[in-house]
Symmetry: C2
Subunit: 140 residues, 2 copies
């Protein structure tokens, strides 16, 4: 009684969509778009040396990212300064306020995730996390 094989892509897409939809109201409550949150997440992990790098890291068009950065800068959640050693580049850094905002949002998102994973055995949860990191790791 083998279950028929199902496409990985289909399963991943379904779960991703579910997660994104669950994040939407949280982000909206904090006045952040998805891209803005993604950028803050990336910056919380470390300052970006150029906007191009930032765009690559978050997987977004560098051109389109400009508006996102503009909005976050206006909101005081990040700063953009020319790199002294290469004045073409702009170093993008999260502010204290940005860090607080990100932590608040991420806290709620993690709580949502916990609720979603509620009926998974603890061992399964750990395995899932390990496998996702492994599959999402950069190309070897």
């Amino acid at each position: 009684m083998n279950e028929p094989r199902r496409d990985l892509g289909e399963m991943f897409a379904r779960i991703t969509q579910r997660l994104v939809q669950a994040e939407r109201p949280i982000l909206e409550r904090h006045g952040l778009s998805m891209w803005e949150y993604v950028v803050l997440s990336r910056l919380a992990a470390g300052t970006a040396p150029t906007q191009r790098t930032l765009a690559q890291d978050v997987g977004h068009d560098p051109t389109r990212l400009i508006g996102v950065i503009d909005a976050l800068e206006t909101a005081g959640l990040l700063t953009r300064h020319p790199d002294p050693s290469d004045r073409r580049a702009r170093v993008v850094e999260i502010t204290e306020q940005g860090r607080r905002r990100h932590a608040a949002v991420q806290g709620e998102i993690h709580a949502m995730e916990d609720a979603l994973l509620d009926d998974l055995a603890p061992a399964d949860r750990a395995t899932l996390d390990r496998l996702l990191r492994q599959l999402g790791a950069d190309r070897r």
Copy 2:
């Protein structure tokens, strides 16, 4: 030395994007769009009683789905017939040709997935499949 927690959504989105990108050339080679493939997949599992149901099942706008169904019908991969018991509804059914096309594409996609999961232990692979099914299952 705990790794910092990472957002589930981020990890799922990254892997999903990777899978979709790997599927793109396969689908293109067989002359199918992503939505067309998704529809065929759904129909391969069973006939859809109405186009609305079909749209819900695949998570697509019923309005937009019409064009997809049109194309698949023109290509002879599915048939669309009025339901005798409710002549408003159109029963959508995959054809033999559609089934063959779907099987061919899915075969290549599964091979691609196998390659991607190559460095996972067999036990891990089974666990991943089980967890994805569990998380993707309809709301309890």
